[in-house]
Structures are given as C-alpha cells and as structure tokens.
C-alpha cells in the first residue's frame, strides 16, 4: 500500500505583502486525524497562513501541498469556517440554501469541466445538507432567513456549510470570536467529536482555552514553532506575546 499524502504539508514557505514580510521559512506537516491549534498575536500572519493553505494567495517562496497536490486542485476536500462571513446578512437566502452551497464542487474531481455542470441539486445534496445541519444541531433552523439568526446560530450554520461538502480537513478561523463563552465550549465539544473522523485545524487567539482540546499547537508570529499541548506554560506564552499574559491553569 502506498503512503497516503498528509492533509497539509508546508516547506520553507515565505510570504510578503509587497515589501512587508508576513511569514518566513514556515515548515509544517499536519497529519491525518490531528487537531492542530494555530495561535499567535494579531497581525502575526495566522489568517495569511490559512489563505495560503487554501490557495487564495500564492507564496513567494516554498511549496504548499494539500493532500499531496497544489491547493487549488484539492481544496474542495476542505471545509472552511471563516471568522467574518464574507457575505451580507440581509441577503435573501435560507439556512438550507446556504448549507447547500457547500455541496458545490462535490461531484468528482474539481476540474474545469465538472465545475461547469449545469442543473440543480440532487437528492444526495439535500441529504448531505440535512445531515450536516443535524450534526451541528441546527436542523430546526433550516427554513429560517439568515438575517434572523443569532451570532451563535450563524456560526453553527457556517460549520454545517463546511461539513456539507463532506470534507476530510476542517479549517476554522477564530470560530468562537463572535459568540459568548458558553457557546464556545459547545462548539469545541462538537469539534472534538468531529475530530474522530476529520483532521481539524483551528486558529484562535485564546491559547489557554484551546490547549485542552487540541493535540498540538503551532505558534505563528512571522515564523512558526510547534508545541505539544503538554509543553504549554506561562513562559512559552510570554515568549510568544512578548509580555506578561494572565493564564488560567487547567489540569485534566
């Protein structure tokens, strides 16, 4: 049996916006089934790293492999949950229709020809959308207008859109930045369950909180350093953020 390519593999990756270097010499390999947290200060390059991984930006140096191929060829195997939704909340669309959009590009490989297939959703698409909504416990919302959702509900719906595409890798950018703390725990419990079948990569500013869920933490501040969760303590956080940060110890 040939070895399966890792979900994400970055080698000597560097990126700069015009003159300003954002990421330098990043090496990272995310293994199958891993739950990786990415932390770091604001403007440290976390979101840029995600955009590179998803093929929305091109690196100046280094290589990016997503399931062993260039990102634009295999990115339909990603489910992505953005920090800020890139759509307007008053768009006339129901939750079900929004989740169904996550089904686009599911048929076959993502070649030009299949992306031009005309027509409507199949039964399988409706079924997958319904299942995704069930999984995030948002099924009763299916026929609701998105403008009528609360922040936490919208977050669940966006997660459902990502899951509807039957991804192998789930990428979340600050999934809990816009919701209250009780919901934050619920979302991460959900992610822990999903991690049994999916590789998960989650960006967060809250290192103390996520370290109880993730298996490995990558700290991004222009460069990238990986730590196993047991190694995270006050001095590491201080190194990363450059000042004294109050940290709540959590022992399990």
């Amino acid at each position: 049996m040939t070895q399966i390519a890792p979900p994400i593999s970055l080698e000597a990756l560097s990126f700069a916006y015009s003159e300003l270097p954002v990421l330098e010499a990043i090496d990272l390999e995310v293994h199958n089934g891993e739950f990786l947290g990415i932390v770091g200060p604001n403007a440290g390059g976390k979101s840029t790293l995600l955009k590179l991984i998803m093929g929305m930006l091109q690196p100046q140096q280094g290589t990016i492999r997503l399931f062993g191929a260039p990102p634009h060829k295999t990115r339909n195997r990603i489910g992505y949950v953005p920090q800020y939704p890139s759509f307007s909340r008053d768009f006339p669309i129901t939750v079900e229709q929004l989740v169904l959009l996550g089904r686009l590009g599911c048929r076959g490989n993502s070649s030009w020809l299949t992306s031009l297939l005309p027509g409507r959703y199949q039964m399988a698409d409706y079924h997958a959308a319904q299942q995704a909504l069930q999984e995030v416990e948002a099924e009763p919302l299916a026929q609701r207008q998105i403008s009528s959702l609360s922040g936490g509900q919208l977050q669940r719906v966006l997660l459902a859109r990502a899951l509807a595409g039957e991804p192998e890798l789930l990428i979340l950018d600050e999934p809990t930045a816009n919701i209250d703390q009780r919901l934050e725990g619920e979302i991460f419990e959900l992610l822990r369950e999903l991690n049994q079948r999916l590789t998960i990569l989650v960006v967060s500013h809250d290192i103390a909180f996520i370290s109880s869920y993730v298996t490995r933490v990558a700290c991004v501040n222009r460069t990238l350093v990986c730590h196993h969760t047991d190694a995270i303590d006050g001095s590491l956080i201080q190194d990363l953020y450059g000042e004294q940060v109050r940290m709540v110890a959590h022992h399990h």
Binding site: M54, M56, R75, N76, I78, Y80, P82, P85, S86, F87, S88, F91, P92, I93, T94, Q97, L98, L100, L101, G102, L104, G105, S110, W112, T114, S115, L116, P118, G119, R120, Y121, Q145, R161, G165
Partner: protein, 285 residues
C-alpha cells in the same frame, strides 16, 4: 382607462407596446434581482449608459441599432467586469469614466449621422409605442437566452452573488460566472432600452426587484415576484400615459418610484407590527 382599453383593441401598436412591456419585465425580474442582491447598481448603470456608444456607431454605419446596442452592452459588461477584478481599488472611478466615455462616443457618432436626430431621444428615454414586430422577436430571443442561462446555472450564480470567497473555495470558476452574470445584465439592459430608454433603465432594472425583496426571502421567489411587479408597473404605465398623451417611459419610472416608496413604508410598518406582536406574545405567560 376605458379610452385606453378601446384603443387597445383597435391599434396594433398598443398591443405591441404591451407585449414589449411584458417581455421586458421578465428581464427586469431575473437580472434585476441579481443586481439588487449583489449591490451592483452602479455597474449596471455603467453598462446601460455606455451602450449609447454602440447604438450611435450602429446608426452611423447603417446597421440595426439594437444589434449595436447588444454588442456594446456585452463589451461594456466584460470591460467593467475585468476592471473590477483587476483594479478593485479604483473601480468606481474607472466605471464612472467608462459610463461617460461611452455616451460621448455615441453622441459624436449620432451628430455625424445625416438625417433626423429624433432617434437620440428615443434611445435616451425609450419609445415603447414604436416597437416593431421584429424588435418583439428580438426581445423574446433575449428573454429565452436569460431564462436558459439562469435555469442551467442558478446554483453557481447564487454562489457567486452570495459569497465569492467560498464559491472559489468550492471550485466554482468565479471570474467566469461573474462575467456571465454581467453579460446577462447587459442583455437585460438592451431589453429595457426599448421600453424606457437607456437613461431610465436603471430604475426599471432595480425597483421591481427591490420591491420584491421587501416581501420574499429567496432569490427564486424574488425573481418571480419582481417579474410580476415589473409587468404590472410597465403595463399600467403605458395605460396611464395614453389618455393625457404623456411619454410612456417616464410615466412608468415615476410609477415605479412611487410604488417603491409605498412598499418601503409598508414593509417597515409590517416588520414593526410583527416585532411588537412577538414581544407581546413572549411577555404573556
């Protein structure tokens, strides 16, 4: 109104006018809905006005002006789409420039065309009472094209109008479908020029869809309702303008503006009442 109805049974030009109004409303229902939800009214305006360049050139070289309009509209749509994708930051300046340059080209051509200048007014403000049978067939063909494109690609168009970033991630060729969407808008502009002329096109393109948006919550229903609203507004406009001998184009637009205002006020009142109702029922034990 009675006078209009008896005239309608007698004169074929009035019957043609009504058919033209109905054909145009299909376009304003479909493309207008995309324009409203994707907030590209300014882009649609740029396309509509630069069409004069094509019409003027067609007139000068003795070709059918509608053909020239279609060619110019599609060219303008592709050019504007390309500008938006390449120079995002200066988008509004460049579209504004294209808007005026297109019109200037048109005026120059028309001024150098020998013969009467009356055509200019009907290009700018439309003349639905002069629609020929040939134009009706042309309009019907454009409608068929629009319907075909939307039936085939409604999922992709929804993805691109709703969330371009996510559509790209799902492998939807966003650039292709964005440009195709603008071409559909261009086709619709040409449809509507027959009815209200290219200056007033913008109102008929957006107002019926904006009215529909007050009441429905999906793009498909919005298109159906906007088509209906457009049909009612344009036929009523033609009927109202007949007895006092007013130009039908501006009458239709004034009617559409009034209907939008009324609808906006009503919709707001409805939402307020709904909210109060929900509040009082949640307060009750």
């Amino acid at each position: 109104m009675n006078e209009f109805l008896t005239a309608l049974s007698e004169y074929t030009f009035l019957q043609s006018a009504l058919v033209a109004a109905l054909l145009a409303s299909i376009g304003c229902g479909i493309a207008g809905s995309y324009v409203v939800v994707k907030r590209i009214t300014f882009i649609a305006g740029g396309i509509a006005h630069s069409v004069l360049g094509g019409m003027g050139a067609a007139l000068y070289y003795g070709v059918d002006p509608l053909g020239g309009a279609l060619f110019a509209a599609i060219l303008a749509a592709l050019l504007i789409g390309w500008i938006r994708l390449q120079w995002n930051t200066q988008e509004d300046t460049l579209i504004g420039a294209l808007w005026a340059v297109g019109m200037a080209i048109g005026i120059l051509f028309i001024s150098k065309t020998p013969g009467y200048q009356t055509d200019l007014m009907s290009f700018l403000f439309g003349n639905i009472l002069l629609v020929s049978e040939k134009s009706l067939w042309f309009m019907g063909g454009l409608d068929a094209l629009l319907l075909l494109a939307v039936v085939a690609y409604h999922r992709q168009f929804l993805a691109v109008s709703f969330d371009e970033e996510y559509a790209r991630l799902r492998g939807v060729p966003v650039t292709f479908f964005y440009l195709l969407l603008l071409v559909l808008v261009a086709v619709t502009v040409v449809l509507l020029i027959q009815v209200v002329g290219l200056i007033l096109v913008l109102a008929l393109l957006t107002l019926p869809a904006a009215i529909a948006e007050h009441y429905v919550h999906s793009l498909g229903r919005m298109m159906l309702l906007a088509t209906g609203v457009g049909a009612i507004l344009s036929t009523t406009g033609v009927a109202l303008s007949y007895s006092p001998d007013l130009p039908p184009g501006p009458t239709i637009i004034l009617l559409a503006g009034a209907a939008y205002l009324l609808s906006a006020v009503t919709a707001r009142a409805l939402i307020k009442r709904k909210r109060e109702k929900a509040q009082s029922s949640s307060e009750a034990p």
